[in-house]
Symmetry: C2
Subunit: 152 residues, 2 copies
Amino acid sequence: MAKTNQKWHERFRDRGLRFTQPRRVILDVLDNTADHLSAEEIYMRVHKKYPNIGLTTVYRNLITLERMGIVTKFHFGDGCHRFELIENKKKPDHHHHLVCTGCKRIIDYDDFMDEEIEYIKKVESALSRKHSFNITDHVIQFYGLCKKCKAA
Amino acid sequence: MAKTNQKWHERFRDRGLRFTQPRRVILDVLDNTADHLSAEEIYMRVHKKYPNIGLTTVYRNLITLERMGIVTKFHFGDGCHRFELIENKKKPDHHHHLVCTGCKRIIDYDDFMDEEIEYIKKVESALSRKHSFNITDHVIQFYGLCKKCKAA
DNA sequence: TTAATAATGATAACCGGTAGCAATTAGTAA
DNA sequence: TTACTAATTGCTACCGGTTATCATTATTAA
């Protein structure tokens, strides 16, 4: 329940885009999950309530939402992209995940958050200067096996 | 020129695998580049000198080489996997890259290396304990635009 | 209400990567 | 050296995720 439809509507209008039913529904799905859903998974949830909305439309709108800065796209090495509503995250633009390579479960961790952000900032500014880069994003991911998958 | 063919040959034999021409050639390509090549790119270089070696063989052997711990596979978000000979890296099992989202250039940086490794270790052990994970790997990547792509 | 045009949905295509399978070949044992 | 045999290769067809095409539909400014 991060943003009312009215708010979303404005964000689209401000860019000269339309606030269509598919967009409303996709945002609703993203706003009502804690998971990192793939396009296919989002489509399935959308499809359950609105069977008339097509897969292509979901893909297209995820791109649009990413461009609008509403959604972030990740790749965790399982062969598909996964999406997260930016408004749902505790700290914007800081993406760190713990990924189980067995069951593909993804955990957003927040240990050492402040320390990590500070470290990232330092490296970012050093790298920007040294390599003349305009750094816009970063990713920290740990891979391993969760308790269940270790046992299995 | 990291390893002589004899050395590679032993590593394959020790696992009951054969040291074939395609494997020799693929390793040679990987050993003679500083870039992070995709399977397709490796295939093209292989193909130039040995047109009889097929694309499938390249894919298959990259998997084999990864299993053997000779090669590391990365994904930088450009839709394909990229490979690096482990022997060529300064510090094994520590992967940090600066990626230009414009021209896809990838820079291996080594600033704050020791500090970063120490920090990673700390987070890793904390996350392992807290989430009962068996952490085997991690990735740190910065994304942005390089000097050229900024201007363009 | 209507005109203009952004957005949609169905289909086909694309692209990186993989499976199946007959033919070949590296490495061992005679 | 030769013969054997399983590992490996190279086709081809196929797969799953994603994107292009294009005629149709629907949002929104006037």
